[in-house]
């Protein structure tokens, strides 16, 4: 696979947050070194299959995920957010990031549908190729691009039901 650089992933994140989330640039920055990450208890991810197999994941706390949903839906700061909207919003962010990561690859594969859970499924075949701890409005989220280790045969994930993916 071609190297997916930290700069590539940062540019994608900047674009996604500036266009979709905040309507302004510069709202996302690297998480300050030495500062512990907030507790992360929700993660959204999409899997890429094909010549390059891997995953893009976005981890954060439920509170931050709710804030992201409010931002995407242009809701007031403390408006209630349903679980469905929280899951949908975080999943869609991971989906857009994953689609843009996939576009960096020299050979196209297929992108799975976004999935959301309390934690990533354990996958010994996957290793992080880029991990970006991020600061969004003073709260932490972590974007990770994972690659599958071919020696294990199974790509990160591979759990989507048939018919739920396309190019």
């Amino acid at each position: 696979m071609s190297a997916i650089t930290s700069a590539d992933v940062s540019a994608i994140v900047d674009d996604v947050f500036a266009s979709m989330v905040d309507r302004q640039e510069g709202t996302v920055a690297p998480w300050p070194g030495g500062v512990p990450l907030d507790g992360h208890d929700v993660v959204a991810w999409v899997d890429v299959r094909g010549p390059w197999r891997g995953r893009a994941s976005l981890e954060t706390s439920v509170d931050v995920a709710a804030s992201l949903a409010r931002a995407l839906l242009r809701l007031p700061e403390h408006a209630p957010v349903t679980d469905d909207d929280l899951t949908d919003a975080l999943g869609e962010l991971a989906n857009v990031v994953g689609g843009n990561v996939k576009a960096l690859l020299p050979e196209q594969g297929t992108l799975g549908l976004p999935q959301v859970a309390a934690a990533l499924p354990d996958d010994p075949a996957a290793h992080p190729v880029q991990r970006l701890p991020l600061d969004w409005r003073g709260r932490s989220l972590v974007l990770t691009v994972w690659a599958a280790d071919d020696r294990h045969g199974g790509a990160a994930g591979a759990a989507d039901p048939p018919g739920q993916e396309d190019r």
């Binding site: 266009s19 469905d84 196209q108 992108l111 549908l113 739920q164 190019r167």
Partner: protein, 120 residues
């Protein structure tokens, strides 16, 4: 008034697409569909002026929707709004009869610049 069907399995994204249409100056009448099959049935029931569809959806993808529409004789103007904008996908979209492909993330300006020429 132009009548559009917005198909995306994400309710949040449908809302963003509809909002972006308005911000781009397209004050269209909108119907929403949660996957390609719903969109296909909505077109059969009342053909819109344009369909804006996500690509990757459960039940029926956007590409399957477009191909089904063309196979049934619907020439409805069709555009993709999708998280994947590779050259390969743009070619697939064009070959299937799509007028354009807008990659996510997008802006109102991007919507206007892409859609307006297709309305002429």
């Amino acid at each position: 008034m132009i009548h559009v069907i917005v198909a995306d399995d994400s309710r949040v994204m449908r809302q963003i697409v509809v909002r972006t249409l308005r911000q781009a100056g397209f004050d269209w009448e909108v119907r929403e569909a949660a996957d390609g099959q719903e969109a296909l049935e909505a077109v059969r029931a009342d053909e819109p002026d344009v369909v804006l569809s996500d690509w990757n959806m459960p039940v029926m993808t956007g590409l399957e929707l477009l191909r089904a529409l063309r196979a049934e004789g619907f020439g409805t103007p069709f555009g993709f709004v999708t998280s994947e904008g590779s050259a390969e996908m743009r070619q697939l979209a064009e070959e299937a009869g799509a007028l354009f492909l807008i990659a996510k993330p997008f802006t109102p300006e991007g919507f206007r610049d892409t859609i307006e020429p297709c309305l002429a």
